[in-house]
């Protein structure tokens, strides 16, 4: 043994190795797959990064983990940024992780942006292409997983707000390799079946970006844009945006929100209809009153005191009739119309103005009583002959039977 050679303690060796490693590998990118991941209660995350021929223990301390937008999972292919170190107490070589990038994610995003631009330039996302979502749907189609929370949430909302709306589920895969085909078939099936569907909700609960990736598929986006029935997309959480959101006629932040949008509260609708009914009634009533006032004013303006008696009976009938009209909202409308026509005909016939305007005259005594065929009438009586525009006072010379 060479005397110049100092004998190191284990700790000394570890510390020197640690020093060298940290100096040499202080800012390193390393790519591999995560296995054996374990998060401790302290928040520190330990896992092994491996490739086909080797592996390295890795640690992500809690204060660094908190800065990441997601928690790493087993099986993920990642690129780690950090430094190599050595855990002296155990002499363990390890990678101290500062940041994690999901491998391939960069490529995915690039493809997403490229496809989005392409479809945008084709006009698939144009506002002019958007179909109007009906305000009062009677039947809605839902394309989603049969056992996910989406359909349950939608049924719950509809049952509470609009129990009159018919929900038709078209079960579909919403994740994995078959999801795209399945979703497209769902949209096409609802479009081609025979009953009238007012709107379609395409829904899926929250998930990782990778889980939701099928909603960025070009064929699916085109199928959404091509649907004849308006589509509301409700995929993932509020912060998740997929390409079908742009092609759909509306994007809802969640499936429940989509259901709420489509479901006016039924009691509100009943109230609205009651109001409309009263409005219709009020409008016809005020129209008739206006007509009636017009006739009434015409009568008064000619200063016929007694001839107005002809009216009084009709007027009363008419008044009663308009009152009845108010109460008759629920009753037969046809009868009402017939009655109204008869009343108005009577009014026209009995209106002396009409007769006088045709050239006839009305005769009445000085007290204003109309002289009719059997009224007493003698020589010397003063009578008034009333034309439509003037009155002549004269004396009877002779009365003879016809």
């Amino acid at each position: 043994m060479n005397n110049d050679q100092t004998i190191l303690s284990v700790s000394q060796l570890n510390n020197q190795a640690k020093f060298l490693l940290e100096k040499k590998f202080s800012h390193v990118w390393v790519e591999g797959e995560i296995i054996s991941l374990h998060q401790y209660r302290s928040g520190h995350i330990y896992f092994t990064l491996k490739d086909s021929t080797g592996e390295i223990s890795s640690v992500l301390f809690s204060h660094d983990a908190q800065k990441l937008p997601y928690i790493p999972e087993n099986g993920q292919k990642v690129t780690l940024f950090g430094s190599v170190s050595l855990y002296s107490p155990r002499g363990q070589f390890q990678f101290k992780v500062k940041n994690i990038h999901l491998s391939g994610r960069g490529d995915l995003w690039e493809a997403y942006e490229r496809l989005k631009r392409k479809l945008e330039s084709e006009g698939l996302f144009d506002a002019s292409q958007k179909k109007k979502i009906p305000s009062y749907p009677q039947k809605i189609g839902v394309v989603t997983s049969v056992d996910g929370s989406v359909i349950r949430d939608i049924i719950h909302v509809m049952n509470r707000r609009s129990p009159h709306i018919h929900i038709m589920l078209r079960a579909s895969m919403v994740q994995g390799e078959t999801a795209v085909e399945s979703l497209i078939a769902g949209i096409e099936d609802i479009n081609s079946q025979s009953s009238k569907v007012d709107a379609i909700i395409i829904g899926r609960g929250g998930g990782s970006m990778e889980d939701l990736w099928c909603f960025n598929d070009e064929r699916l986006v085109r199928a959404v844009a091509n649907s004849n029935i308006p589509i509301i997309s409700a995929v993932g959480h509020e912060t998740d945006f997929t390409l079908i959101d742009f092609a759909a006629d509306m994007r809802a932040p969640t499936p429940s929100a989509a259901a709420e949008f489509l479901s006016p509260v039924r009691d509100d609708l009943f109230q609205f209809l009651d109001e409309q009914e009263e409005r219709v009634l009020g409008l016809i009533q005020s129209y008739i009153l206006k007509k009636y006032q017009f006739i009434g004013m015409a009568v008064i303006s000619y200063g016929f005191h007694k001839p107005e008696l002809f009216f009084s009976q009709q007027k009363e009938k008419f008044n009663n009739f308009t009152t009845a009209l108010v109460n008759s909202a629920q009753s037969s409308v046809g009868k009402f119309k017939q009655k109204l026509e008869i009343e108005l005909q009577k009014l026209n016939i009995l209106n002396p103005m009409g007769v006088l305007n045709r050239g006839y005259a009305l005769v009445y005594d000085d007290s204003g009583t109309a002289i009719q065929e059997n009224s007493p009438l003698n020589k010397g009586d003063s009578i008034n002959i009333c034309f439509s525009n003037r009155i002549a006072n004269t004396t009877v010379n002779k009365v003879k039977k016809k």
Binding site: Q138, A171, Q276, V280, L283, V333, K337
Partner: protein
Amino acid sequence: MSKKEISFEASMSALEVVIGKLESGSTSLDEMVQLYEEGIRLTHACKSKLAKAEMRITTLVNDKNELKEVPGI
């Protein structure tokens, strides 16, 4: 499409049109009465549609390209 099959949505928009015309009040008495009739008929039709309809849930099944709507999920 016969009057009976007219959808709730269509009835609601027809009602809107009727009320608009009634409000303008510029038509003949005969037409006003017809509009009134139509208005009341529409509100009643809508209400009975709402009242009658009960929650219905069905599933559209594609069985070898034959589409069938079956009750429940």
